[in-house]
Symmetry: C3
Subunit: 240 residues, 3 copies
């Protein structure tokens, strides 16, 4: 049995990964769903990417976790890349679920369409506390396209304002992707959080070098719309 | 409960959408499947795109339909775009099922590979009455690839010669895609009526701006090969 | 009922297609799974593409097979193309299952990413007997990504060193693709034996001209991971 650590995406918390953790635990694995610095209740919204990465390395230290399958969703791909680069001996396999794959010196905003950067800049400027939020119409149409209207709204109400600095702070990597752990990319096939003309896969997955592809039907928010299948596919991506 | 208006594609009639309408009606919705001007028995084959669009706006007027989910298949995308641009207050959501998405001044032939335009020109020239037909081998291999041979032939026998002017007449749009209704794109994943190297999605879907993607397995002619699933997916695309 | 001839890919044998043949036989068809020259026990490993092609034309002659559905997997696409070009009157339909589609004067290595050619050159140089093998990590991650670890290893243990000259010898074709038989392309959707940024479909399938697309979930090695569905999809691709 393995130890899975599931790292949520922007605007989410670890708690929102618990439905996905359930089928993985039911298969006998240990699953952790920590919440990143910047997304915990009361966290300052000027948190940066480095602090988010350190919040996971601290979590692994405090819980003495090693030989882990480390999964990151979306923005969480930035974080798990940083964690694996700093603690390559702790990670058995990295699983990117429709997640950003940075190379040294890149930030999340370097990998999204320009109109998203413009929108994020504008919203963050209006909010003024360092955070950025996602307008509901974009969430409903492009992020959680496979939900009905009620679920789309209920899930939206669980999101928290995200620290925008984690999108703009460039990552510093020593060796990645040249680290010995296995690497998998889990692609939800109707994920249009990034447009299919500028897609997650294979545009970002290719940056991993040799990796294992796993796919499933579903949107960017399958943790809400199909957590059981998502958990099963994370295990397919995470196994040896 | 909503009101769905399903607009067929080239060579089809509204009657050929009835199997798809069944599961939508079974879910409690009202469904209309009008036949476009140019495809009704006895219609002159020099009908143009404008006349086809007006045949739908007339239908909405005569039946006092508003707040509709307006679905267009293939060529039907040209028509629903024109209808929504003229009557934006009647349309709650547009659903493009492997359908053409024109911008102002474009015609259908502007969005297909050159070898199709050449073929259509040649066939229409030979027929001489303004119509164009689809050769059976192209229908069987590229349009209804998921049918067995018997269904492929039976469906082909139900088609009618299509008024070619609807492919060459450029559309005139006032505001589209800047109209307030929701927009969805339903993509059948094995649809090779347009080649996957010059595809429906995301090449044409992207022209909608913000839209909802829904996908299903199946060919361009899922109204014959899998109408039940197609109806369900139209509802996923059409709901709020 | 039809006669199917299934041609295996590189490193495989006809025996490894037998699980796939089972559902086709169960549907009432006759199925042959010959092993190509160069992959039979004891074959010299300096066998070239021409010899592999002739081993199939000889097989068709010796077994008086005609009106066949001729399926080729991966490297087998090179072989069935050569067979159909030499014996167009024997072939009712060609089915390419994630297979190479050569035009006159091309070799397999012309259609793979440069880093694969470099790797094959290096491995073949080290082996020195004319053969090439696939490193296990590439097999496990990119070829049989949908297997668990045990099946990945068990299947790997059944492979045989492949005659590298069949990848570098250019094919000579008289008429292909201008031959009258039907053509289908069966694409396993998670097949990353070729990267999705330089894919099997539509990059290679387009070279067929008019063809029928059939798709299924699964990896390049669905003959091990899902032979029943694979056999069903080969029948969908192979029927009239």
């Amino acid at each position: 049995m393995a130890t899975y650590v599931l790292i949520h995406g922007a605007w989410h918390t670890g708690e929102l990964m618990e439905d996905t953790a359930d089928p993985i635990r039911a298969a006998g694995h240990e699953v952790h769903c920590p919440t990143l610095a910047g997304n915990r209740p009361g966290d300052p919204k000027d948190t940066g990417l480095e602090e988010a990465i350190v919040s996971v390395t601290d979590y692994l230290d405090q819980n003495s976790l090693s030989d882990i399958v480390l999964m990151g969703h979306s923005y969480g791909g930035m974080v798990i890349t940083g964690v694996a680069d700093r603690m390559p001996d702790r990670v058995r396999r990295l699983v990117y679920w429709n997640a950003f794959v940075p190379h040294d010196g890149e930030c999340l905003n370097d990998m999204v369409p320009e109109h998203y950067v413009g929108l994020f800049d504008q919203i963050s400027g209006e909010l003024g506390d360092g955070s950025v939020v996602l307008p509901f119409p974009i969430w409903r149409e492009a992020f959680i396209n496979d939900a009905n209207g009620d679920l789309a709204q209920a899930a939206y109400d669980k999101l928290n304002p995200h620290p925008y600095k984690t999108f703009t702070e460039k990552i510093s990597l020593k060796a990645f992707p040249e680290i010995p752990c296995g690497k998998s990319y889990l692609n939800c096939q109707q994920d249009t959080a990034l447009p299919h003309s500028y897609p997650w896969h294979p545009r970002l997955s290719d940056k991993l070098g040799l990796y294992r592809l796993v796919e499933m039907p579903g949107s960017h928010e399958s943790c809400f719309t199909n957590p059981k299948l998502l958990g099963e596919k994370i295990m397919e991506a995470g196994r040896d």
